[in-house]
Amino acid sequence: MLRKLLIGTMLASSLVGYAATSFAAGGSVEVLHWWTSGGEAAALDVLKKKLESQGITWKDMPVAGGGGEQAMTALRARVTAGDPPTAVQALGFDITDWAKQGVVGDLGEVADKEGWDKVIPTALQNFAKYDGKWIAAPVNVHSTNWVWISKKALDAAGGKEPTNWDEFVAMLDKMKANGITPLAHGGQAWQDATLFDAVVLGLGTDFYKAAFIDLDPAALGGDKMVEAFDRMKKLRSYVDDDFSGRDWNLASAMVIQGKAGAQMMGDWAKGEFLKAGQKPGTDFVCIRFPGTQGAVTFNSDMFMMFKVGDDKKAAQLQMASDIESPDFQSSFNVVKGSVPARTDVPDTAFDDCGKKGIKDLAEANSSGKLFGSMAHGYAVPAAIKNAIYDVVTRHFNGDVDSKEAAKELVDAVAAAKG
């Protein structure tokens, strides 16, 4: 019995060794992620099944908590112990920060073979590559400057989709008069910042770039920023009083149930509408935040690959290759609500909002109006992002006025750069 077991183990390990040289099946991947909620877990299952069909074992390491703060804490411990997972779900500047520590792997082999450079938008490459090397595989692109409007509430408010700020305010006023909460919103720092992203982008793409990408103090503290804060104050007046601490999906539920008119949220909100059996176009409407059509603020989920031993390398490369395969990009993103991270994936399987998302992304990419989202860690590193959060959320909760907020923004960013 024991001998049989020994022989079996030897056979298996030699097989793995053989497979590793052939760059195909065998081995295992350990994946650290925070996709634990219903729709997200279902989307991730697509990848898991695909890998398992290729004979690669999937070792799941979920660390719950939207935004991945807990996951990053778990990762710190693993990396410090010298035993990082194969792949880690990560966002924006976190990837760059880890790359600076010299612990990430190199996907060059598979990226060159499959020509990632040509099909993945440059704005994404800035994060997925470090020092010219591919270190992460982008899974999707979420854009954050969406507004989700209940069709019924919109019809009751005149039925016209707003295309600029004034029309948007007029629509919200009518919704208020109709006796519903015009804007469903949850009072958490990142949600406040998501609103702020859209508002700043609505005041001009150049302004967004100067303020959040270049961190130009003149833009951060200027009159336009004061106006942006004034608009935030205006938006606050359309939010109900119990918003503090509410999760984003509960805000979506308010729109679905008809208690609220609209929600400003990234396209992950679409999943909530679809799960409730609503159809784009007939039950709800998706538009870009009024005044930002043509521009896109994105965030992108990526799997950052860590330096692993040779025995695991083949499985890691296979996983990266699977993530970027067009059929996976399509099937995953249909479930997740986002759009593919490569621009050459056909949009046939997507619904109307998804098709619009794909079209907008390609358009923004070619016109240079595709920007990283500040609220979601794709414009500035975590320390500066959170410094901006502090000011935005304090202003949104009425602790400081708009002029003071703009001034504080300059100071906070300067201090966080420090």
């Binding site: 703060e69 990053m72 804490t73 710190r76 990396v79 410090t80 920060d97 880890w98 600076k100 520590q101 009072g187 958490q188 720092a189 009083d241 119990d242 503090s244 601490g245 590193p381 975590a382 320390a383 959170n386 502090d390 959320t393 304090r394 949104f396 909760n397 009425g398 602790d399 504080e408 201090a415 420090g418």
Partner: protein
């Protein structure tokens, strides 16, 4: 000559001693050694480690290649969130300690009146302590939420003008955390005081009664002054709970609305793990440690001093 003899004698005695005796002498040390080593490394070692971190330019991971002196401390005390945290700590700890002690003492005195059913009442008051602060926090969050909790229930009952929305108001939210914390800890303080009350010598009380002192006077002039050590213990336990207050805040408001209910412990975790500012996080941890020292050291000093 005599010297060498004196040296040899105990040495001979040692070798002659039975191995069992030697083992007996060594056993306590052997048993204590692992825990001593563990505490030395994992408590004091890491305190020193954190101290070093607070002077380094660590961001994402510990990094001892750049030293920034007191820069982290300067940035810490210039940060508005830290100032808010300190203010909240002051409000929270003063109210928490004072109100908990008052309620705990009152409950203990009432229970001490040889009433029937004490065996039933005592665990009822003590029970909240068995819950974790997370459970308390979530329960109170729902209870105080205007949309689903107390206010909603009052409206359902027909009292439409009732309004209690502190948890959603930046200037009042910290007091809701005080309320929840007091609910959690008062029973525990009661148990401490009750033990203290039971420890007071009956002879003294009887003597006072014979002298014609009223119950109120007996408590005010004799029993409560005799319980000084219990007050001190209660204060130390409550004070360090207040400085460490983290789980309750996370569960109830997670620092919100805005940054209104940040506390130093929340600041430490958010900066160290959320904002990749490990140096500043370590600096805030050191400041918290110093606050706890400021409470514990005089306590230990007075305790040890009394034994002399």
């Amino acid at each position: 000559m005599t010297q060498t003899q004196a040296e040899i004698a105990p040495a001979l005695a040692r070798t002659r001693r039975a191995p069992r005796e030697t083992l007996q002498e060594l056993l306590p040390k052997i048993v204590l050694a692992p825990s001593f080593a563990l505490i030395l490394v994992f408590v004091y070692g890491f305190i020193v480690f954190t101290g070093f971190l607070s002077f380094s330019g660590s961001k994402l991971l510990p990094d001892f290649s750049t030293w920034v002196g007191f820069d982290n401390y300067v940035r810490l005390f210039r940060h508005p969130n830290w100032i808010v945290s300190l203010k909240n700590l002051a409000i929270f700890s003063v109210l928490y300690i004072v109100i908990c002690s008052v309620i705990g003492l009152a409950l203990a005195i009432f229970l001490d009146q040889k009433i029937r059913g004490e065996g039933l009442l005592r665990p009822i008051y003590l029970y909240p302590m068995a819950l974790s602060f997370i459970v308390t926090g979530v329960a109170w969050k729902w209870f105080l939420d205007p949309g689903i909790g107390l206010e909603h229930a009052m409206h359902e009952l027909g009292w439409d003008s009732f309004s209690f929305r502190w948890i959603k108001q930046g200037d009042m939210a910290i007091y809701t955390i005080v309320i929840a914390a007091i609910w959690q800890s008062s029973g525990f303080v009661m148990a401490m005081f009750l033990a203290g009350l039971r420890g007071v010598d009956n002879e003294i009380i009887k003597a006072a009664q014979i002298d014609g002192a009223s119950t109120l006077t007996i408590y005010r002039r004799i029993i409560i002054p005799l319980m000084r050590p219990v007050f001190l213990s209660a204060f130390v336990v409550l004070a360090h709970l207040a400085i460490k207050s983290y789980d309750l805040v996370v569960a109830m408001t997670d620092g919100g609305p805005g940054t209104a209910t940040w506390t130093p412990a929340l600041f430490m975790t958010k900066f160290t793990f959320g904002r990749n500012e490990m140096g500043m996080g370590a600096a805030s941890a050191i400041i918290m440690l110093m606050m706890i020292f400021a409470i514990i050291v005089p306590y230990l000093y007075s305790e040890l001093g009394q034994k002399k």
